[in-house]
Structure formats: C-alpha cells, structure tokens
Subunit: 450 residues, 2 copies
C-alpha cells in the first residue's frame, strides 16, 4: 500500500488535499494523471450503462437538495454513528468501535478505556451523531435555513422519478443514473482514498415492477461484477458478501457487497441493494406528490421497486491501481543498461490508462530525429492522450512510461529518417515492431479500442 | 426565455431541483438530455485544452479545502455582500442593490424604502455577509472546525502548484485546469441557470513569467472567445467588457468579461483575469511553503504570474441553448400533414447535441420494418448516443427530434427491405438521402466529426 501511495504522489496521480496546509483529514486531490484516470473510468461507466443500453437515463443534480429530502429518506434519523465524548478534552470516539476497552482504529491509549488524546477516563453516554455535513441556505444560520450535503447521489433519482420518466417516455423496467460527489462526515477515516469524507459515486436506481425485483437484483449483481472485472479488477480478488437480515440498512430488503482484497484486507468495493419501494413511498408521503408509474399496456398503476447498484469511483480506482501495480525486482531485461532499482509496471487496462501513447526520440541531440518525433507527436495528438519525452536514456524513458501504465511507446530513430517508420513498443510484452508513420493513427486506434 | 425554460422541462433538459418539495431557490437539476449535453460541453473543453494542447494539465480536487485556503486567498475578508436587515421581520436585502429607495431585483414593496416582505421601514446598518457556504468538519460545530464549500475551483491550482508542476515536469508557461462544482450563497438569484447557488466551473490557471503576463492575457481572451464560438455561440451575441481599475477584484490586475446577449440582457458569460502572483504569494505566506518556479535554462527562480480564463458551464449551456433555439411559425413544410403549432428546431452544434442519431421505422405496424429498424439501431448504438422511436406519425417524430437538436434521423421504409438502404435526414437542411446500411456507421462518424 505504501508503495502505491508513494507512486501516486510522485507521478501525479493522487495528492493529499491542501497539502501545503498540512492536509485535511480524509480529503484527496487527484493530480494530472489521476484526474485523467478517474475521467476514463467515469467515461467507461457512462458508455457501458448510458450509451450502450437503452433503458437507463442519466441525470446530474446538485449536492445540496431540499432538506425535506433527508427527512423522507430516513437519513436525518438513521444516518448516524454513536459517539462518546471525553469529559476532560472533548475528543469524540465511535462507541461502536470500542472493543475490549480499546478504541479500535481511533488511536492508541496507554491503558484500556482511556481517552487516546488526553488519557482521561471519564466519558459521556453515547450520543447519535449525524454523518451528513450541514450548511445554511441564505444569510441566517438557524434550523429553518439548514441544509445538507448529499451523502449519496441516489435520492435525486427518486425525487426526479416522474420528471425523468415522463420527459423521456421511459417504460418500466428502466433506470436513472448519476455520477457525482457525495459527502460523509466520517469520524474514523483512513486507508488512503478508501474512506474519504468527499468521494465520487456512480449509482443507478433501476425501477422494476414489484415481484420482479428479486430477479433483477440477481442480474445486477452479475452485471456490476462484470463491469468491474472488465475494467481490470482481478476476479480472484473479488468476493460477495451478503448482509444479514438484522444488519440491513433501513431501506433495504437485500444487500450484497462486492468485496475486494485491498492491501489492508477484504473490504467493500461496491454494493447492490434492493431498496423496495421505500424511497418513492417516503417521498410521496413527505411531498404529497404521487410518485408512481402507470403501465399503459396492462392499465395498472403501481409504485415501482428499485434495485440500486452503487459504486464508489475512488474505491474502484484504488482497486484498479492495486491490481495493476507490478513490481519487478532487478528490472526488466530490455535495455543494455544495468537496472539496479526495482522497476514498476502499472498494468492498467488500455481503456483507462491515462496516457495512451508516448513519443520518444531515440536521442535528444540529433536535430532531425527530434524534429521527426515532434511531427509524429503532433500527428497523433488530436486522437489520443499522448506524451512527448526526450529527457534521459531511452530505457529510462520506457520505465517512466511503464510506471504510469502507458500501453504504447513510439520511438523515432535513425531508420525512421530513411524509411518513415517507427518502433511501437507494447508495455506488457515489451515487444517492438516497426510501423509506417502513415499507418500509426489507425493501428493505435484499433489496438486501443479492441 | 420562458419558451426555453418550458422546452427544457418538457424534454428533460433542466428541472427545478427538488421540485416535488417546491424547489430550492437557485438550484437546478439536469435531466437526461441536459446531463448529456453538459457532459458533451465538458468533454469538448477537455479535448480542446487538455488533450490537444501539451501545456495544460488537469486536476480534480474536493469541494471542501483546508479553511486556511480562504484566509490566504482573501475570500474570508473580501468575498462578501453588504446586507441590511428589516428590524421587524428579519428579512435581509442587498444594500448595494438599493436604488432610489427600491430594492432592485429583490421584490417589490408598496412604497419606497419599505421592506418588500412585511412593509417595515426600519432597517439595520449594512453588515458584510460572506457568500461562502459554511460547514463543519468532524462532530463539533465551532469556529475551530468550520470549513467552506469552494466558491471557485481555482484555489486548488495554486495550493497544488508545486505538486502538479514537479510530478509532470512542466515548464513555464503552463497551465493547471479543473472542472467542478462551486458554491455561492447568493442572496439575489434568478434568470434560470444563469445565477445558481451551485454551479459548474471550468477554469485554467495559466502560469507565466512576470512580464509575459500582459501578452498572455490578450492571447487567452481570444482563445477563450474562439472556444465558445466554436461550440455554437453566435459571434454577434458576444461583446467584451473591460473592468474599470476601481472595480477589479482584490487579486486582479486586469479583467475582461465576455458578455453574452441573454434573453434578459447583456450579462457575463465568462471572464479572463490577470491574477498576478497574488494567490501563490498569499499561499506561501500563509502556509510557510515556497510556491515558486525554478527556470533551469536561465537559472532563475521566480513566483509566476497567472492568467485565469474562467468559464461557468451552466452559463455557457444557457447561451448555447438560446442561440440554438429556433421557432418556426406554422412549422416546416416537409410532410404532408398540416402543422398548426409552432415548430421548434434546436440547432445545437453536432459536437454537443445530446442525441446524435434517431432511428425511426416508417410505420409501426409492419413487423419487417420494425425489426429492420431495431437492427439498424443496435448496429449504431455502440458508436453514438442514439434514440429509437416508433410512436406517432413520421412527421411528428421528425419534429420531436428537431426539438431536442438531433442532427440526423434515419428512416427505415419499404425500400429498405429490398435495397438495404435507409433515408438519412439532416436536421437543418431537412435534406434526405439514401445510404446503404453497411455504410451508415462510417458516414455518420465522418459527418459527426467534421
């Protein structure tokens, strides 16, 4: 894990947020390569579920919703953690994470049942603390003006159910999807981007006729799992965890987590829940508006059930980085240089690799070669995320690209000047083949799309 | 404007946020077509400034940053509006919007100098009200734990300046860019999505050597304007407005707004500012970290100046919808049906139109034709955002697609069954030509990319 974190910082994938100010706990910045990687993951998700299917529509709604939303959804009442407070220094701890007198994962006290901050031994009773971030609309800071940052993107799919269904004339079964930031004021955080206070979700609320929900649930578990595997998560590092009846969320009839074997252990990567008609019914009740569906063919009206496949983009990104991370002791044997340090190859799927192609002049000090390399770079730039690099030996530059997962490297050499061809090197096989410059764009398009 | 708002709601572009709860003032939901349209605009921006250039890198950072950020940036002190409060009902008003005894744009009182809400005549002195949304990190709601939702995406480009520059080995001049949500707790709102409390920004901070800033500023005004025009904003509806010295923001040496002729009048669509080295210097001062650049070639160190082209995606989207909106009285003369109502054509640029192609069987009740149309639909779906529609007369369906800006409509008719070709109809010219099914994907790709 440390190696991944270090690579992420060094190569511009992920930084601690507001690092110059000492960071803000559990907030992370995506740097130049991380931002592109994340965008690529999001685009693959949109392509798979919005473009290639005809039964799911996308919406894009604000982080701040009407405060009634969270009363109806049950979040005001149920989205809480029990906290106890040290009477001496006011530090707060998760009461439910207390085990055998220790605050698991919340710091270390000298003795059991002691405040990890000041050593105090006197705590308040546990109080429920709501995990939603609070803010105020307008200039008055009182209860009447309070609002919340959404803890999930899902609720807008329920409040906009009728608007989306009618404007797009959707027929059940159909889904409403959204990608966006969600916020949870977590007390215990950690494990890099695994549990952040601000994170990005990709959720689908898939509406079905009551009675068809159990079958749809099963289908979505498989679809979701396949999507993740298709992006590059190794199947053997995934397992399903079915929530027990008594530990289900207040809205759920059934929940399966897909867990991933993170460097810190098996943990939830994504989940699929059968939310029943709970949310639509609650919003109907609280808003006074009917949120139902009329089936024209069978002339029947009902409140649909909903299956929710939900994905944390940051958790998926961490899993993808983990499975892509390959460290080769002593380096690979491609070049004649002696490589002492370990060599990292980030075996990201071509679909999501942030840089698709690198263009490298064999040497920096031959004007003709540099000029030609820059021409090749300009030729390909309209089509791909591409990097030009002339600094350091060619072997060093290959390694620099391997480390960030670039699938293809093009080298412009002396032969290029005569034959108008270049070497195309494959990141994984290290195989090099010569390709005519005029064919390059098409060859790369084909290989990157396959 | 009303017509645009109505079309946006009816056809799934933009809804009032949390509409079932009566809405939340100045928050808007992008519906299925609006979300795709907005994504397309964002993707064009990324393609233009990140992919096609080699001097700008993207980052993606949280809405909540370290609170010190806003002290350093000057937002705590300067990002305020003067408010006066009615002593009777506590309603608040913008003191600087008071003109001749009337609260301009904030409601209508019976008499001058009267509270528009209760008629009270007694107001407090003006107090400065900060426009940043406030929240609290952790479980304690006091000043020490307060944080803010960013009012601009820009600040992360300054706090991450060194991390981004070093990890990507960027050389000045270069830019750091970001797209994301920003939040402003505006007291006066309105004009549809023009002034929202939560909105999406696309900003570039372009770092240059001091002394090169004025030239870079001029260049960016032109680049920015061209980008907007290239997406479909009409040149004649744009004008430049140069801020007077005395009304510049606290950080700015020079600012030019590009204004657009919105239905409610000329207003700022986007702006370019010369922020000098203000932000980097301030963050250095407040963090104690050096935020400078070392020029290897000339062996000199300096704090770069920064040119900021900033864009509100929502404002751009509104301008694009406005310029695309075309209402044809009495309808167009394509079909033999008599068209009584006005016909709307949304002449969106092909690059950003949410649906690229519609597939329409000529009639619904011929099994062969419907089957063939569905085949064509499946054939093209992997490549384009596409809709299948069989409901209503063919003329009605053309109009339905015109209204949402779909550039191409394909009709499968009786001839198709014999000749394996379809009609391809152009939204703007209404010209129809017959294209072989096997050529369709390529023809469409070519026309959509040109």
């Amino acid at each position: 894990m440390e190696k991944i974190v270090s690579l992420c910082k060094r190569r511009g994938f992920i930084f601690q947020s507001s690092e110059i100010y000492g960071g803000v706990e559990a907030f992370w910045d995506y740097g130049p390569l991380g931002a592109i990687l994340k965008n690529n993951i999001k685009n693959e998700w949109l392509k798979t579920f919005i473009q290639k299917r005809n039964d799911i529509v996308l919406i894009d709604t604000p982080v701040i919703m009407h405060p009634k939303t969270w009363e109806a959804s049950g979040h005001i009442q149920n989205f809480t953690d029990p906290l106890i407070e040290c009477k001496k220094c006011n530090a707060r701890f998760r009461a439910d994470y207390m085990k055998d007198g220790n605050f698991v994962g919340q710091g270390k006290a000298k003795e059991k049942n002691q405040c990890v901050q000041c050593g105090g031994k006197d705590f308040t009773e546990a109080k429920q603390f709501n995990l939603m971030f609070k803010t105020f609309l307008g200039s008055v800071e009182d209860d009447a003006h309070q609002a919340f940052l959404r803890p999930e993107t899902a609720q807008a799919m329920f409040t906009d159910f009728v608007l989306a269904q009618e404007s797009m004339r959707m027929k059940i079964p159909f889904g409403i999807a959204q990608i966006g930031h969600s916020f949870r004021n977590e007390i215990t955080t950690g494990n890099f981007i695994f549990r952040s206070r601000e994170f990005e979700q990709a959720e689908i609320e898939y509406f079905v006729k009551p009675g068809n929900d159990e079958k749809a649930f099963e289908e979505w578990v498989t679809i979701w799992e396949n999507f993740i595997i298709n992006l590059g998560v190794k199947k053997e590092n995934l397992r399903r965890y079915e929530h027990k009846k008594e530990s289900l969320s207040h809205y759920s009839k059934r929940t399966i987590d897909i867990e991933y074997k993170y460097p810190f252990g098996w943990s939830e990567l994504t989940g699929i829940a059968n939310r029943t008609n709970y949310d639509l019914s609650q919003h109907s009740k609280f808003s006074g508006k009917e949120l139902s569906y009329f089936d024209e063919e069978n002339k029947e009206k009902y409140v649909p059930y909903v299956i929710e496949p939900s994905l944390g983009i940051d958790r998926l990104l961490l899993a993808l980085l983990t499975d892509a991370f390959d460290e080769i002791k002593g380096g690979r044997t491609e070049t004649t240089e002696s490589v002492k340090e370990e060599e990292i190859v980030l075996r990201l799927d071509k679909k999501i690799a942030p840089i698709k192609v690198a263009v490298l002049p064999l040497v920096k000090n031959k004007e003709n070669i540099v000029k030609k390399a820059k021409e090749v770079y300009q030729l390909l730039k309209p089509y791909f995320m591409i990097q030009y690099d002339e600094v350091g030996s060619i072997g060093r530059r290959y390694r620099r690209q391997d480390e960030i997962g670039t699938p293809f490297a093009i080298t412009v050499d002396f032969e290029t000047l005569e034959k108008e061809d270049v070497t195309l090197r494959d990141r994984d096989t290290m195989k090099q083949e010569r390709i005519k410059i005029r064919d390059l764009a098409n060859v790369l398009k084909e290989r990157l799309e396959s």
